[in-house]
């Protein structure tokens, strides 16, 4: 007779809940506010800041906005203080701050900072250029991050993104110059990324060498190889082998879409590689979460043994993922020599591959979020460029650090707990 009673227990036993106050968001708000207050207070600046929200060729022209620098900065501090207080009050009442409060806070902080930086400067802060430049800078990062996400979701850590970008940049320059076609260069870049991925796969999947070691060694190898070939092959034959200047992809304006104020010129006046990037982000997301390939790829990254018992070839699936990822990273490499630069230069990727890896982790191994993290890094880099033009009084080294500090704060405070695929970096051995 107990059976009947116990049947009722099959229902999940729901527990009493004691709510806890969560002060993470208000604390991040407060520290950012304090940081900026200190900056404004310690080095006040005179004059107006000029902002521009569009380019002259826009369908709807938005006039230049001129604001008094310091006053604006202090007003934004006021807004931030209010938002911080609000966040504290909400947290104290066991409530979460709404997402739009966070967005408003970030915009206020950014706007105030730029008003302060631009105060009295002859240069105009062009918001459209700031963001579209950020998108452009972020392109190789985003491709690198997408490749990283695919590899790690399948359980293979890819430290060699840097090598893939570099090899692809080199190959793109060489092939494009020799064939006279940027498109041929782009395809060659994908093949180069694929080839580096094959090296990674051979050692990491087939021979089960520690994946971090394989990645680092591959980076060193490719750096050496491209530098050697650059000096021996490209430098003496500059014009016939390393001259993509006339071939570079130029920006394509998408009629209609590009005339949307602010957003239009940012998103829809880019090169083909940027448009491909939008497609790639969506495609990788769809492939990972909505297709058979994605389900299997994620399964071998989480619990390879379970996948094996369901008749899935674990190492074959990993191979496929790593090679596809390599080809995607290759497109990002092509950006260096087919868009941003007219020729290959040694070590021109300058560690961006490692930053992609950081974007993978900040993006919690999700393609869309990793791409967003890539954009955030791109924004931070572009901010440096713009601040350089504005001649701010703070030592430039400090300013170089600031965007990263803010990024770190944002990531620490606003991004939730991150969780790697369970079998990430663990080679699969069958009995």
């Amino acid at each position: 007779m107990t059976a009947a009673v116990l049947d009722q227990l099959q229902e999940v036993v729901e527990a009493r809940v004691i709510e806890r106050k969560k002060f993470k968001v208000p604390i991040v708000f407060a520290s950012t506010t304090v940081l900026l207050t200190l900056l404004y207070g310690l080095s006040a600046r005179d004059g107006d800041a000029q902002f521009m929200l569009g380019s002259s060729s826009d369908f709807v022209t938005i006039p230049k906005v001129v604001v008094p620098g310091m006053t604006t900065a202090w007003i934004t501090i006021g807004i931030m203080v209010v938002l911080t207080a609000l966040a504290f009050v909400l947290a104290n009442a066991y409530k979460k701050s709404p997402w739009y409060a966070t967005v408003l806070f970030c915009v206020a902080a950014m706007f105030g900072f730029l008003a302060w930086a631009g105060a009295g400067a002859p240069a105009v802060v062009n918001v459209v250029n700031l963001i579209s430049g950020a998108v452009a800078l972020a392109i190789p990062l985003v491709y690198g991050a997408l490749g990283g996400v695919i590899g790690e979701r399948a359980g293979v850590v890819n430290i060699a993104i840097e090598a893939q970008l570099l090899m692809a940049a080199f190959t793109a320059a060489l092939v494009a110059t020799v064939t006279g076609s940027a498109w041929a260069g782009l395809v060659a870049a994908m093949v180069a990324g694929f080839a580096v991925a094959a090296i990674l796969g051979l050692f990491a999947i087939k021979y089960r060498v520690n994946q971090v070691i394989v990645g680092v060694v591959t980076n060193v190898l490719v750096t050496g190889l491209t530098t050697f070939l650059f000096q021996r092959l490209l430098v003496p034959n500059q014009l016939t082998m390393n001259n993509t200047e006339p071939l570079r992809f130029s920006s394509i304006r998408i009629p209609g879409l590009s005339s949307i104020p602010v957003i239009g010129p940012i998103l829809f006046n880019q090169t083909i590689i940027a448009y491909l990037m939008y497609v790639a982000i969506a495609a990788v997301w769809f492939a990972l979460y909505r297709t058979r390939w994605g389900l299997r790829t994620r399964a071998v990254g989480e619990h390879p043994q379970a996948a094996d018992t369901m008749g899935i070839k674990v190492n074959g699936t990993r191979w496929r993922a790593v090679l596809i990822a390599g080809a995607i990273v290759g497109i990002g490499g092509a950006y260096f020599t087919l868009v941003s630069n007219g020729r290959f230069n040694w070590e021109m990727t300058a560690g961006l591959g490692y930053i992609s890896l950081a974007a993978v982790i900040f993006g919690n191994w999700d393609p869309v979020r990793a791409a967003m993290a890539g954009l955030l890094f791109g924004f931070a880099m572009n901010l440096n460029n713009i601040l350089g033009l504005l001649h701010t009084p703070v030592p430039s080294q400090f300013l170089l650090m600031l965007p990263y500090a803010v990024t770190l704060l944002a990531v620490a405070g606003l991004v939730g707990k991150s969780r790697a695929p369970a079998a990430d970096g663990v080679p699969y051995v069958k009995e």
Partner: protein
């Protein structure tokens, strides 16, 4: 489908895990495999399922020799397996796990709806409910098990292997599983069932084959008694009941007062619990899995972060202490999930045996591990606890389930303890070893140490415990003497306080009498009165003690 294994031999280096095993499983039959820990049952089944390649021998399905390159081939041939360690991707949903490897697609996109429908259809066939969109890691083990079964059935398996499916199940879940197995058998499936619980074997087996040290030693009749089954399995007579005298209380007692444990999200997992365990006494904590027992033991061990209240061991306060300090206070802990909490799978047996004693002599001197001492110690323990292994330097992850459990028990029991916490100490352990572990637990108690045993097995709780404390929804329903009947304990596990039980039973009886139908029908329909027990009754555990004695 008729399954025949002929001369299957599997070696791991020098160890012969399966030695020319012959086995025939007829369709419409439940064939039980009995054997000690490490006898080679799982290995044999893994050979059958294509996970291992046998070194010798052949597999025949309906008289035809088949060769499997991998589990995919075995599945295609109609073999399904529910593994001893679940083969589910924890972050996937039920439907995703079921479809994995055999995905239905609409164009390029996965057809999740088809997978959901399949889950519902199979669940309905066996009268249970599983939410196809639930994430595996949020589900209780019993439900995860059903997902494993659905997975196997979704491929139209005609031969089904259940490798110790009941080790992690509660008694009611076990009963349900056995119903499912019977239904499958009646539909014509050939079923291999591995278990260490003799009660289940007798209840359900059509045929019993016993394996010892890698070889078939004979068959047993399903009508044999427990003692006969145990003897043929272990090769000697086994004492199946616990022999213990009256408890001799000492002063080192464990006193828990108003202990509350909450999760990171604020859920109350243990709800203002108070109880006392005297030195020299075993308190068995019974209850349906997931009613706070796990969290209670982890809090006692210092493993939970959000703990309020007081835990005093021999007068010393343990709340707020680090795990290291709790260990130093002499608390020994046998965790319920050995693969995650108790052992480092890639470490050797010798290393695992000294895992929590790496902070000083005799295992470590001047910062260096005393290899000689460690190995000598390990050799002695392997011998004493009868761990079946190729040697003390074997990785623990390669041990059979029951032998891994013995390593933990050996480690924890070989320290000077002032409190022993054992959660499911005999999960997955064979009868011979259960006898041994019970003896050691009783010895620990007789040495004057308070002992807490958490068990979802009512038999284990009644046999080992001097008193039984029943938990429900994080609180204590009551503390009763060990000879309380199964029925009363069952009602208490449903949250009905012991003082209300007489009334409840009378009510059920009255209803049954009033009904014209068969008594069993009426009982099935009888809803538990007072199915929301007041939290008052659930937290007055210590008061109950006096009344119950």
């Amino acid at each position: 489908m008729r399954l025949e294994l002929r001369g299957i031999t599997k070696r791991f280096a020098t160890l012969v895990a399966n030695d020319h095993i012959d086995l025939v499983v007829e369709p419409g039959q439940i064939h039980c495999l009995l054997g000690e820990n490490g006898a080679g049952k799982s290995t044999l089944m893994n050979c059958l399922y294509g996970l291992y390649t046998p070194d010798e021998g052949e597999i025949l399905l309906d008289g035809e020799v088949v060769r499997f390159a991998g589990p995919g081939d075995a599945q295609a041939a109609g073999i399904g397996m529910v593994h001893q360690h679940f083969m589910l991707v924890p972050v996937f949903s039920v439907a995703e796990n079921v479809m994995l490897g055999n995905e239905a697609s609409k164009g390029v996109a996965l057809d999740l709806d088809a997978a959901r429908a399949k889950v519902r259809e199979i669940a309905a066939r066996f009268n249970f409910h599983v939410d196809p969109d639930a994430i595996i890691e949020d589900l209780p083990v019993g439900v995860q098990q059903r997902v494993e079964i659905i997975k196997a059935l979704s491929r139209d398996a005609h031969v089904l292997v259940f490798d110790e499916p009941t080790a992690v199940l509660t008694p009611q879940e076990t009963d349900e599983l056995m119903e499912i197995m019977k239904q499958l058998r009646d539909e014509g499936a050939a079923i291999v069932f591995i278990t260490h619980k003799l009660r289940e074997v007798r209840a359900i087996a059509d045929k019993i084959t016993v394996i010892r040290r890698g070889a078939v030693v004979g068959e047993a009749s399903p009508t044999s008694t427990d003692a006969e089954l145990a003897a043929i399995m272990v090769g000697r007579a086994v004492e199946l009941s616990v022999v213990k005298g009256e408890p001799q209380h000492t002063d080192t007692s464990l006193v828990v007062k108003d202990l509350t444990v909450t999760s990171a999200t604020g859920q109350v997992l243990v709800d203002e619990v108070s109880f006392e365990v005297k030195g020299g006494e075993i308190l068995a904590i019974a209850g349906v899995q997931g009613n706070g027992q796990t969290e209670l033991t982890e809090a006692l061990m210092g493993l939970e972060t959000n703990v309020e209240g007081s835990i005093r061991l021999g007068g010393q306060e343990l709340v707020g202490k680090s795990v290291r300090q709790v260990l130093d206070a002499g608390v020994g802990f046998i965790p319920e999930d050995r693969t995650h909490d108790g052992l480092v799978g890639t470490f050797t047996i010798a290393e695992n045996l000294m895992l929590d004693r790496s902070d000083g002599p005799p295992f470590v001197k001047a910062g260096a591990i005393q290899i000689g001492f460690r190995d000598e110690f390990a050799r002695q323990k392997v011998e004493e606890y009868d761990v079946r292994t190729q040697g003390i330097h074997q990785e623990v992850g390669r041990l059979s389930g029951g032998n891994a459990q013995k390593v933990i028990v050996a480690r924890e029991m070989s320290r000077d303890l002032s409190l022993l916490l054992a959660a499911q100490p005999t999960r997955g352990v064979d009868v011979g070893s259960i006898e041994f572990i019970y003896k050691r637990i009783v010895e620990m108690r007789d040495s004057g140490c308070p002992v807490v045993v958490v068990s979802t097995e009512l038999d284990e709780a009644s046999q080992l415990g001097d008193r039984i404390m029943v938990m429900y929804k994080g609180g204590i329903v009551g503390v009763v003497p060990a000879d309380t009947s199964r029925d009363v304990l069952g009602l208490m596990m449903a949250g009905i306080a012991p003082e209300d039980i007489a009334a409840t039973q009378a009510e059920i009886a009255a209803e049954a009498a009033a009904s014209d139908d068969a008594v069993s029908d009426a009982v099935d329909d009888a809803a538990p009165p007072g199915d929301t027990p007041s939290s008052d009754t659930a937290t007055t555990g210590t008061d109950e003690t006096g009344a119950a004695r």
